[in-house]
Amino acid sequence: MRYCCPTSIEEAVAILNTDEDARCLAGGATLVAMLNAELLSPSTLVSLRAIADLDGIRHTDSGITIGAMTRHAVVANDQRLNNGLTVVRLAAQEIGHPAIRAVGTIGGAIAHADPSADYPTALLAANAEVEVIGSSGARTVPAGDFFQDYFTTALAHGEMITSIHLANADPGTVSSYFKVARSDGDFAITSMAFCGNFDGSTCTAARVAVGGCASTPLNVTAVDKMLIGAELGSDQVTMAAQALADACDPIDDVRGSADYRRLLVKRLLPRVLQRAIDQGSN
């Protein structure tokens, strides 16, 4: 296995385009574990750690841009991620343990596209855009299009993630994240992320994403619409939760049965809404 450590994005893209079996090595939290388990054996590892342009969080007029190599711990502690973007910070805080958050990166996490991981669900609710670059240039992929199947993204051969862009939310937007796992630090049995607005306890805008219940994180437009005008605790929320559970296609595994995951979806929706309201009033 060849190991490269390019110092620029252009150099990294050039290597990825000359070797079909090359893989980017970001923090290594997942990739190195998969190498150890002999699940992957790429011909070339392209380490991204020496590319300074990929690291850090930048505040711009249009929103916040998180570099692909930004560690989970940095995102988890960045207080600029607030209101409608709090969901991303909360998701980062839920990833693994401090040691994992110190090495793992947002780019690596979403490139792995595990539907039970924390970031994909949060980024979908926040309507994030994934900025990728390849030999034919840069392009932007909405989170809803980026995650395509289990462990499969919209990245084409030779492309890599450069950053994640979060547009400024409308004033008054609140967000929240709720995860149910077997133990602290584990992948989600089911997780839910919410971004939206409330007038008192009545929802006026909603974008809900569910994790761990399909081949990708799931956003159902019809459910978002059902929530508009719904008051917390009303039958309308219960009906939206049922519709969301019906749209899921969960797996049965050691973490929980498919039926249990659907039940969690129904239970989590009112809780994630309540958390968002609480966050707004704080």
């Binding site: 002999e38 699940l39 992957l40 792995h112 199947d149 289990y150 595994d253 050691v254």
Partner: protein, 151 residues
């Protein structure tokens, strides 16, 4: 991992049986399978490409018919490995074709699959969904194959 599929095809039992037990016809219907080689009576060898997210591999399998009762029942034993790599796959499968009407048949397929080695470490629940998805593509291809051969 147990897989069970039942589907109907608008064709007579004998037509379905002939198609589904003919390696030259059924081989191309298996997702990732380019070629089936007949190595003896009721014994076939095939290479099947499997993609599970970032993991791409090829299983070299040998399928042996353990019982055949034309035109309604067959059982098979499958054994294979990944070549130089450490995963092994074994499966016991049954196939049942029954008549619903003279030109409509029901096919029931069961398979008990064991994957050991490196791929056995991969998310079992996800593997099952992937196997289900392969099964659905297999059924769609068989249906198309039988209808195509009729026209």
């Amino acid at each position: 991992m147990k897989i069970e599929k039942q589907f109907t095809i608008d064709a007579a039992q004998a037509t379905v049986w002939d198609f589904i037990t003919n390696p030259d016809k059924v081989g191309p219907c298996i997702p990732g399978c380019d070629d089936v080689e007949v190595v003896g009576p009721g014994k076939y060898r095939a290479a099947i490409k499997v993609e599970a997210g970032p993991i791409k591999t090829t299983f070299h399998v040998t399928v042996t018919a353990t019982e055949e009762r034309p035109p309604q029942f067959a059982s098979y034993k499958t054994q294979g490995d990944e070549g130089g790599k450490a995963s092994r796959v074994s499966a016991k499968s049954t196939l049942e074709v029954s008549t619903l009407t003279p030109d409509r048949s029901s096919v029931q397929y069961t398979s008990d699959i064991t994957i050991s080695g490196r791929l056995g470490k991969f998310a079992a629940g996800v593997m099952r969904k992937m196997a289900d998805s392969m099964g659905e593509r297999f059924v769609a291809a068989i249906r198309e194959g039988i209808e195509h051969s009729r026209t």
